[in-house]
């Protein structure tokens, strides 16, 4: 794999992002338009995300299941807003066989499907069809199911991790007897996402609700976590939807309550995707390459032995193995004992792969029974650690690095959250990026005009800021404010 330079952020932020991905060997372009290949290091990041989130889902009472990849087109049409939202980006299966033709193979016309199938862009329709079979009475509720799956939303303009035709995600789909319970669930999962993003990914996300125009197709309310990239743009990192009774009505899913009355079932759905990897890259990485929060790093510590000659090699490797064994119960550690690469080349590689802590071991360290620690970020340079203090020091350093990433990201977000007084001020400053927190009178037409004129979108009504709206006037229309809103350029 060819060596790859990294364009500095200041020169070209978009190119920098692509370079970090290539240099870190996270993903590669594929011959299928819009699809990418998740290379082992990138996929390991997804595994780390999946493992931690899956535990959080199970702790909140959810179980996993698996529903079909294909959805009959007629299902999509059953919920009017849903089909409106997804029809334009569906991969459609029309045949089930190939036949030989000049120069290759082609769909066999004799195998044309009576009803075409779409590759799931999301699974509400097929899942609510099944829930219709499974739910008869209040005893069958709630259903708290999550699915880890691939989905396809056809995209013309793609960007690795952030926007691809096929992506990996999880989608929770829950069914409840009451409106209140469904609402509670939607909010609970928003907070699961929020804590996961803060604690594991070091992303200081802003939880909020979406305006009607930005809601999921088929939802009564969409909750979102929005996060700020280093260029000041926003990224929607996860959503949780209160679906009301919309899908229950579309698929005629009712239940008998304890009084013998039948009502429609209440629903939520919620999801995060491989997009989170894009958020992590864009939030924390630097001009040297990938920077990973220790808690999500597939490898947290890499031990790089340095030797000259066979005899030294054996001794250094033995000590490296001792170091690995001491750390292994506590952190994800790996010894890089490759003998066809010089130490400098190894450092270079692990830096670009974002491994938080490198421990160098040379013959002199061996004598002192100590290692030399080189943190990937945070300044302060290298420092020695005595073997006896190894576990404690390494764990403390990783914790400190994790906290450092979160507080840096938080400080950046604070510094670039602007409380502008007028629409003119937003227009003047929007090119520089940042979150614009403004009093706002909910109005879809005004929202569309602002998007048109500034390319900034209404990211969310941040939950924590709503009290501020009282008694203020909308920065755009001058009418009484209904919300505090964040506008920003977004990926």
């Amino acid at each position: 794999m060819a060596e790859q330079g990294i364009t500095p952020r200041a020169t070209d932020y978009s190119q920098w992002y692509l370079d970090v991905i290539a240099a870190g060997e996270l993903a590669d372009y594929s011959p299928v338009k819009g699809s990418m290949v998740l290379k082992p290091h990138g996929f390991a990041m997804w595994e780390a995300i999946r493992e931690d989130l899956d535990r959080r889902f199970k702790e909140t009472g959810h179980v996993n299941a698996y529903f079909p990849l294909f959805i009959p087109v007629s299902f999509l049409s059953k919920e009017a807003q849903h089909v409106e939202g997804f029809a334009k980006e569906c991969a459609v299966v029309t045949h089930h066989r190939l036949r030989a033709c000049e120069g290759g193979v082609e769909p066999d016309p004799a195998s044309k499907l009576e009803e075409p199938l779409v590759v799931r862009p999301t699974s509400e329709t097929i899942i609510w069809h099944m829930y219709g079979q499974w739910i008869q009475s209040w005893r069958d509720l709630p259903i708290l199911i999550n699915q880890w799956a691939n989905v396809v939303r056809w995209e013309m303009k793609t960007r690795p991790f952030l926007r691809t035709s096929e992506f990996l995600w999880q989608e929770g789909h829950t069914a409840h007897a009451t409106r209140e319970e469904a609402m509670e669930e939607a909010v609970r999962m928003l907070h699961v996402y929020e804590s996961f993003a803060r604690e594991v990914l070091a992303l200081p996300v802003v939880p909020g609700t979406k305006s009607a125009s930005e809601r999921f197709a088929g939802a009564d309310e969409t909750y979102t976590i929005e996060t700020m990239m280093q260029n000041g743009w926003a990224l929607q990192a996860g959503t949780s939807h209160f679906l009301g009774q919309n899908f229950a009505r579309a698929f005629d899913v009712t239940f008998q309550d304890q009084n013998g009355e039948r009502s429609f079932v209440w629903a939520t759905s919620w999801g995060v995707s491989t997009r989170l990897i894009g958020a992590v890259i864009m939030t924390h990485s630097d001009d040297t390459g990938l920077v990973l929060p220790p808690r999500m790093a597939p490898v947290q510590v890499v031990v790089t032995p340095i030797w000259k000659g066979e005899e030294e090699r054996a001794r250094v490797l033995a000590f490296a193995e001792e170091v690995r064994a001491a750390l292994a119960p506590h952190v994800r550690v790996k010894v890089d004992g490759r003998d066809n690469l010089k130490p400098g080349a190894k450092y270079f590689e692990w830096e670009r792969k974002g491994v938080p802590l490198r421990l160098e071991i040379g013959p002199r360290d061996l004598e002192k029974r100590s290692v030399f620690a080189a943190p990937r970020f945070g300044g302060g340079g290298k420092f020695g650690i005595a073997f006896d203090a190894l576990v404690e020091t390494v764990r403390a350093k990783l914790d400190a690095m994790q906290a450092d990433l979160l507080s840096s990201a938080e400080a950046r977000r604070e510094a670039r959250t602007h409380r502008v007084a007028s629409y003119d001020e937003l227009k003047a400053r929007v090119e520089d990026g940042g979150f614009f927190l403004v009093p706002w009178c909910d109005d879809a037409a005004n929202e569309a005009t602002i998007k048109e004129e500034t390319r900034a979108t209404l990211r969310c009504y941040p939950i924590d800021a709503q009290a501020e709206a009282a008694g203020r006037t909308c920065f755009y229309s001058g009418r009484p404010a209904t919300h505090m809103a964040i506008f920003a350029r977004a990926y």
Copy 2:
């Protein structure tokens, strides 16, 4: 969910299988022809399989990655046997948008793809295209990648878990510098599958090689593990392929060796799927429902508290929780504290879900600080366990139950492996099921005739039996035997 009777095996083995799946809430039919829904209990079995196998793959040096779901049709054609093998069962994507039409939506003709895409039936072609970009020199080898994914092979006649259009699996794809190394890898993974099947699933599989007619489309050698169902039919439970240089030639993947010479890369691929769940059901279950080997059971021990009245309830539940907490570090345990179900109904449900050990706790057990254990299978009836001996006794019992399932299955296989002397004998007995182990002279035409006349197929050349072939004559042709072969009816 409606209550579901289970047809006895003796009455109708096929219906029994479907009934066990329904009663155990493992899977459900979906509105998409050929696709099934994996319900939470069935999916948890897949999670248990995935977790254990994934650890074994990583221990043998493999990493996970993810490649696109869609494959351009032209890729399939590049390997002649491969396209021959898969063209007849491919879901083909031809459009990327829907448009409104009378009564719903239809593929938008304006969105027709220039080149149709197939939904991967397996990923050799797309992966070897990528390996072509990644491999330049011997330093880039070996590549040891595995992928957990969904695949689609269009099926007209389906059976849950055993044969469905979409299924979940893992596919390993490795690239090597030498023929020997690739061969070693193919055999290594065969043995990983074999030990996993024996140790975790309690399946006494027979490892062997496939005859040329039963090989994977594009392989030079296919290794298989074959296992016997309770009706004496065979099931192919996993395969590992030595692909030679076939895919490297098709996708022009060469590397420069240490002497500066270029050669084609050597390949393997290997996979197991949700089919393993079908094998477990058909091997171990009984007329009461699902039986699960303890090591793969998502819940190994269920604690069912029994009480009358509120005061008793609180005390019994408190002790049940004590029992759970004591066991939790060692086994997967769950308390069934539902108060809208009578104990008998709970027993019935957990029996049908195959939970190996049920611990009943009533008020009298409380006083004695003991529990009453009811094993799901193995005879011997219920027995008491004092709290102090709980962990030790439960672990020993689960281990014994695991061993018991394996030895029963092994005994059944031994009893029904027939060394028949002539083709007439095979024809006379084949209806009764069983493995027919015979001396055989490799011949594709004879193999086809036997299949035609008896519906028995050549399952494998069992590795351990090959020495026996020396000096014997083929049971069918009378020519000198080249192999010992197993013929059997198969799923």
